[in-house]
Symmetry: D4
Subunit: 253 residues, 8 copies
């Protein structure tokens, strides 16, 4: 339930279109509901403008399923990140309408496709191996009501590939850059645009990439002022950061 749904509900009560008991039934899940192993937080959307997200990693398939069922009962859009083969199968078998993204393991229930974010989000990745992370960012940004421009495989070793995508880059209000190895793409993009840039180090790479630590450090030390960073492979977190920026209520302030 998001802010607009709450306002609508309250206006319906005021106008007599909804009686108090029915309204109570909808609202009573607030502020959260206790499943024992997890507090399902129906108010998060209300507070942050984001639909509920389930991190499947570290949970059993049954736990993921139970949480998803509760959320789908009250929420239009639900995102499950980092499923594995087992949990994605359980979800797809039991819950209709699941979009499954095998590279990143994301599962998406995207029933309300209204675009709410102001401005487009460019999701850029340096190489083919970074696509799973970019996919998680894109899936997240979309389910939260944003338009995405996806630009893949434009690493700095072939600067001309980057240059030929300049125009598409300029259409974006905000940019997420996913790169492994030395992560230099974040600095180069950060120097090319004045838009907000969030960098996501990826664990792709070899030699001295150390599972993404090298890219993480390099992005944090970027000589392009104003680039900010999230954790390794955290496409979801980067998308959330951009959703915060593009959120209309925030922009209204």
């Amino acid at each position: 339930m998001n802010q607009e749904q709450l306002r609508t509900l309250l206006e319906q009560v005021r106008e007599g279109a909804l009686d108090v008991d029915a309204a109570m039934a909808r609202v009573r899940h607030m502020p959260f509901e206790d499943l024992g192993f997890a507090k399902v937080d129906h108010h998060r959307e209300l507070r942050h403008g984001m639909p509920e997200v389930i991190l499947a990693q570290g949970k059993t398939p049954q736990q993921v399923l139970a949480i998803a069922q509760r959320l789908l009962a009250v929420s239009q859009n639900v995102l499950i990140t980092r499923t594995n083969a087992e949990s994605s199968a359980v979800i797809q078998k039991n819950l209709p309408g699941a979009e499954h993204f095998p590279l990143s393991g994301a599962i998406r229930f995207w029933r309300d496709k209204t675009v709410r974010g102001k401005g487009k989000i460019a999701v850029i990745c340096a190489g083919t191996s970074d696509i799973p992370v970019a996919e998680e960012a894109q899936v997240t940004a979309e389910v939260m009501g944003n338009e995405v421009i996806a630009i893949h495989d434009i690493g700095v070793a072939g600067m001309h590939r980057l240059m030929s995508n300049r125009e598409r880059l300029s259409e974006a209000r905000v940019v997420v850059v996913c790169a492994g190895m030395e992560g230099a793409l974040a600095s180069v993009i950060g120097g090319m645009t004045g838009a907000p840039v969030v960098a996501v180090p990826t664990s792709a790479g070899y030699g001295a990439s150390f599972g993404g630590v090298t890219a993480l450090l390099a992005m944090l030390a970027s000589c392009a002022a104003g680039v900010t960073v999230v954790g390794i492979d955290n496409g979801f977190g980067a998308a959330c950061a951009l959703v915060r920026i593009c959120d209309q209520r925030a922009a209204r302030a």
Copy 2:
């Protein structure tokens, strides 16, 4: 020279108010000017909406002075970060109008105080020892044309201090959180607001803070989705990130 100054200049040329030679004289420094030891980049403001900034650390006082003189000849606002006792004295003695901030070592020439950023920037710090970093962020945000709300000393160990500043926090469009030690304040603020949050780990602390590395890691691993991070003590970088967000042209997209 920023975008508006360029537009004005070109319109003056078009309207005959400025002849071509005079325009040439102003523009000819572009794209950058070579001092030998440094390329002074007069166009950066034009590209990114930021005035030129000089990082004094790692430069001799004479190098800092020479670059500052060139920039002040063509730019209203100039920021020098991380001066030490020697370089700040040289600058203050030779260049009138310098505001010196001894905690952070920043020196500011703030001749055009027009507010350009859309929305206020909250600069929060967890403890007194984090103030130098918060100061660098505030000084930077202001010289780039933004209004700042400063909230100091509201660490998570005394949650009531945080709660009593809730209202001021809600006035901000974007938030920067400076904290050392375990940096938990970023997660708590990130959970309290839906606005963009940029976290700055500080080197303040002892015991197991490891010069800011602990706070850096903790902020990157924040359980509040959408918090992004810059390098240790990098108040300047955090401010630049927020300036990118609040920039009106970007907001227009």
Copy 3:
């Protein structure tokens, strides 16, 4: 054999209720018994108020079984931690009365359920992924004679979930906090209560949690004075620390 059992035995000898040979038979296992690959330490309970615990990790199932059999012959309560599928099956098949906890891999023989600890132990965890560690702590605390209050899934990103559990928290004499990611819950709990708080970093997380190292460092650097820390995922160790505190003899000092 714990202190009370020893006192009882000696009093029986004094009163003639037990002859010396029988007493000798019970005591002669002291100080430890050599199985070749392991010294079974029957006196540990006597010295520290803790029943013997077997760490299954790094031992073969046969080694675990052999040690467990010896201990069960002389001790009411025995705890086996960190079994895997193979060793837990061997134990359950060969030894009656085993409680198996699959999330944490613990196996418990809990035949004497007397409560000996003074005050309740709150076992708190930040997210569903931290439950295995919390379970190990709870199982350990209980088998050592303590009452546990379990509070799950109250991470700092949703502060209201934490606030609504405030009362239950206040019932506890001591608190263990299990959290992964940035581990901020330890600081927040440490600031909310004056009771002893032991923090357990967990390996749950992603992005920049580095297998629990981030939470470990953050908990050690907690700005809430007096929070102490054990190793990553070491729910057992945290419980032992609290058992030391709640032990009545110590409290008597």
Copy 4:
């Protein structure tokens, strides 16, 4: 102001011994007072049973002095930790009654010497170089109302020195162990006693002690179950942990 002082005050109001305005004057500083650069938290003592403590490190001498003056106006006991030569001189010159401990840099105002903690606190250190950390722990524990048994220089390389202090150790209800180098003393003490043991790694050492990191890791990995750890050189934090344990109200629970 601690809990007892508050109860006394309220009882005086109830009994008419104190009029409401006078009571208001004492209480109105609550919950905290804003000095601009620092929120002075007069209620901390009330919540946690600890007098206010000022960390001098990272603050200017003037900031330390200003905070100390406010606190001394309302609190019997005040502790300032980690002063340097400059700030300790400023404090000693301006505030009467300051005890200065040059090894640790602590300054103590100990006007109410009532013993409140239940049981004695043993403060043990492995070598002469660890004494500054042990001193910080002792000074802290005492100013918070506890009795301390100090045992210095009993490292594990000379086990007989440890053995000959066994009896003194057994008098303690809780133990803090300060050790650098490999920190093995924590494991040995942890194995000798069933009392709560808090280990403080110190930065003393050379060769492979890495500023205390080796001792920190070793203490966290102690094979003596139930030993807990605080940050490097954090004698203050260890003392606070023990104060939480010995606090009578908690023991009452």
Copy 5:
């Protein structure tokens, strides 16, 4: 071929008991023989007093087999370390006389059991999980002609177990200590004996043992002067160090 065998051979030549061609046939493999993928070094024994050892890890079973066959043709004793299931099966099937040690993966051909080392080698381990490393050390020391005293499971948390093995320890000329977790046993043993002590950190452990890094650092920082250290789980290397010490020719110097 060791030094004594070479001397015998040359004396036989001098005395006419062996003709030159036969001697040539034995010696001609020197200094090493090229198998293409490996230089088989028949002279190592001659130079260092050690039989050839094959590290199976990182080699294919066929490579291990080929090298072993060459070595067995000219050498009485051969040691293969760190075989896995596949390579140990290949060796045992193809080469008679192989002793297989499944805990450590060592395979030993021990045809000449002459004791050459002066003094006994004590191989001590702290816990059951450290036995594989101790086994590798023992197998190595024996195949190189030394007598071993094995003492297992005497960690510092139960100091009495250690004390009761004091006498056996005093029989050893040199000592190897294998311990994981915090590795404190090395310091304690180092303080109890004046004999040479080589410490082997093991990867056994959990919580904060970090795969043996904690024990490695702690042993390097041991407060017992004169303890030396080899790499993690390197029982073989520790045994080689002790063999160098006990070697009679060296002792003769």
Copy 6:
């Protein structure tokens, strides 16, 4: 398409031997071709003198196959590195002419065997376990048009093996040294020759080799001036560095 092929093509156009449409057909793939998930960069050879290389790691077998098919349509030589069992099977089944190197996982299409590099490249490795990395370096250097001298298993612990290969080493113009463990071979080779030496740390080893990090650091800290280093196991990168050196056009400058 390399520089010579481009020059030939353009000269054919100038001389009328090739009409413009045909030339266009050959050139039109430039600067790169978009497969959606990957930008296939046909110009890399032109810019750097290197044929296109596909890093199979991090790509699906189908992605690798699709890229390889495009490249083989326009390029004589193609190298695929780091295939696994699945992707190497797909490639070998679908594309004729594939040479498969199972130790390193490389697959090579080597249709133009012209030697273009000036001088021979020595590829040295310290032990049998380092051969996979040396193989990747050799395969790469050859497919890029260079002659290789391979010298295996000459680690520093047996200096005589190294000495007996001195002459072969002197034939090389440039040298690549692959070594794990402590990587000392790079320093020794660097001291023996004045030729360019590129060191490749390998992940082979145990004890304290930490997956190649030790060798990496040791090679970077080599006391032999002028040794340069690439990432762990990066035989491909080392070969590319040497190809840059031996490239005739560069040598011509």
Copy 7:
């Protein structure tokens, strides 16, 4: 004494222009001369084509002076690196002809300015703070007989500065890139040129540059194949690597 000098000397002996005693006097210092605290290695130039270099760091001024005097007696060119204020003063006072470079601390005796290296060496640095390292590289390359093209302050955040130096870059046979922060310049330059590129991470930077470690890792993980790396701030080592490449005898092979 370099190879040519040796050949000349031997030819003079053969032709009777130099008698044997005089030749002996020149040669007898070979292979090295023992000053007690240092073996002065007059043959290094002969073996590697490099004049002797003295690393002043870690030596007393008197040690540096003594070694320099010996070397200047037999060698035309001598380089002293990393002097501090004290040692540079001692050298300049006692030895005529010293060129002092205060940014890097280098002192050069450059009496034979013959250019021996084939092709020019470009020394590039990203920012003003990297100049000391670039200076050390330039001074070294020159004293060893090479021509240097110096290009300063062309970091990736302002890509246009880089682009405008493209032509100068193309004149170089080999390139050294000095950069701190995230070191992305090495990747970008590596992608722009096919020439050999040696990257030098510098300790310049802040935030997350960690004294050059970030740049070091990023350069090792460069996505531009064939970039090699030396240690942090090691301009000397980078120059030596390039000298090895440009050396004519090597090029002749």
Copy 8:
């Protein structure tokens, strides 16, 4: 007091040459004497064959002086390591007979120069910068009754310097190798000799030596089997290890 002195004393008592009171006076300091801040351990020599050593680092000059005075009253030889300018001045002024070694900061009282160790100890260092560590090792070994062969400045980059010292090396029973940078000398020496080798990483170096960590890791990962390692710059510890080996009583076992 060492074992021989104790035996002599007891024999004198038995033979009536010393009355019991006098004997008591000599023995009564045992097992240690309490100075408050330090337990002076007069029995260490007895247990380990080593005279008492005072680590000056981390102690005040007055503490060092007080301990030294006590020790000199009962012991012939005393060693003080790691004095600084202040503490060395205090010692030299107050205690006659002090030998001061300024490179390492050691101070030695060497009144009994009897050689007790069996066999000579070679102390080797790689470069001039490693001499302070080698000096500490030499001073220690000598004061404990051993003969030392010192060989300086024979790093692996100039292998011929090493080769020309081969004979001197062969005279040693045991060897200590001090090296910074990549520490390869330990591996090379370990391969050249079958004698016990203890490696000491030094903090000398630059580039990627990381204060000795690189050498430490490299020495631990040495491919020469049987090399053991002590902490960084720990010449004292290395000497103690060798003294344990050369001790005659141990050799007698």
